[in-house]
Amino acid sequence: MKKVLAVMMLSMLWSAATFAAGTEYRMRVDGLACPYCAYGIEKKLKAIEGVGKIDVDLNAGLVVVDVAEGVALTEPQMKTLFQDAGFTYRSMTEKSLDGGAKNE
């Protein structure tokens, strides 16, 4: 039991450390409306390796995604993803999850 707990703790610490050094992307999109759309985008983003937390703000047309260190989301990739989900990609900003701005 202790071993299981230790492994879980180490796993959580590793996970937290990985994402703390990762990147937060904030993307503006047009067309976000009902939860079906929001879930559709979440589903597509979830399929990308290294993607962690995803927040979709229906009213603001804002999608915030945290990715692990070493993972990068590109504009062409996001344009295609949002188009497939039925929306129009507008812009993206990114900042380091350890606090530093990368591209505001």
Binding site: A33, C34, P35, Y36, Y39, G40, K43, K46, D84, A85, G86
Partner: protein, 325 residues
């Protein structure tokens, strides 16, 4: 000169008023029955028993109400007065696990769940025991790209709204493909085409009603698959609005014992009721957080006695309504 301008303005005003009158008379019907009265609401945001994090589907038996609790990845079950009874399902893609459960359907003693993220219809016993899965991810026959609603015929055939597939599929009970309506992956606004179809309902004779989500309309198909009619705003061609008989994103549809059609009118924060031929009968609900108000009415179910249950999405609750005498 001034007189001519005034006359012209007068004519333009008269023509515009005439057009408004025509639109009003032709496309904005009046209620034909007393409507519905609010009875009760239950729920609230959270993940405790009886609380919801995005209720997205509702179905009812003679004694229980089943609710898709989407972000909690579970189905919750209540008695008809809203007392919590049990829940089942966890996050995941294994048997009995759910990834965003959406519209629900009950046939016999089984619950059919549109398992949106897992691209399958998952079938449970009413006690929550997982029975089987139908479908998988894909664009081919019998495959799904985010299934959002399901109806079941008397012979066990399934009719499934395939949201990103832009089609309705009919499958046999074993998942084998029968036919489809709509062009796979292609949005359309003409009859028989779809713009993110979200839910389906069937009559006993297999007349198919489709909640054609972003076309803001209902489409109806005969038992042999032919297009019969559509309604929702002028020409039922993706023109949305707040008037009687118009919609602003159709997210749920169900049929009562008399064949009347109930539609969850998402952005209009209401439920509308129609006769089987699409004649507007009544509406209930308005925007808000108080009793009888909705923050996005997303799904609707009708009990055999006519009581209506509505999933009130952003208020994270279920509402119960009864017909006015």
């Amino acid at each position: 000169m001034g007189e001519i301008v005034l006359k012209a303005l007068g004519w333009i005003t008269a023509v515009l008023l005439g057009l408004v009158l025509i639109v009003w008379l032709v496309w904005i019907p009046s209620a034909r029955e007393p409507g519905y009265a609010f009875v009760a609401a239950w729920g609230g945001p959270g993940n405790a028993p009886g609380q919801f994090h995005d209720p997205t589907g509702v179905a009812v038996t003679d004694s229980e109400v089943f609710v898709s609790d989407a972000r909690n990845a579970r189905i919750q079950v209540f008695d008809l007065d809203g007392h919590f009874k049990r829940w089942f399902g966890t996050k995941g893609d294994g048997p009995g696990q759910l990834g965003r459960p959406m519209n629900l359907s009950i046939a016999g003693d089984e619950l059919y769940v549109a398992d949106y993220w897992n691209d399958r219809i998952q079938v449970f016993g009413l006690d929550g025991t997982p029975h089987r899965n139908i479908g998988k991810t894909g664009k081919g026959p019998g495959e799904f790209n985010a299934p959002s609603g399901v109806a079941v015929a008397g012979n066990g055939d399934l009719y499934i709204a395939d949201f990103y597939g832009q089609r309705i599929q009919q499958l046999h009970a074993d998942g084998s493909f029968v036919r489809q309506w709509g062009h796979t992956g292609k949005v359309g606004i003409l009859a028989g085409e779809f713009n993110y179809p979200i839910d389906v309902a069937l009559t006993d004779d297999r007349t198919l009603y489709v909640a054609d989500g972003y076309n803001d309309r209902v489409q109806v198909f005969s038992p042999d698959g032919k297009f019969l009619r559509k309604w929702g705003g002028p020409f039922a061609m993706n023109i949305f609005g707040p008037f009687n008989g118009w919609f602003a994103t159709v997210t749920g549809i169900t049929i009562d014992r008399s064949g009347n059609v109930f539609v969850a009118d998402f952005y209009n924060n209401r439920v509308q009721k129609f006769s089987p031929d699409g004649t507007f009968l009544s509406t209930f609900g308005s925007k808000g957080t108080g009793p009888g108000q909705f923050e996005k009415a997303i799904a609707v179910a009708v009990a055999r006695n006519g009581t209506v249950f509505v999933a009130d999405f952003a208020n994270n609750r279920i509402q119960k309504w009864k017909p006015k005498p």
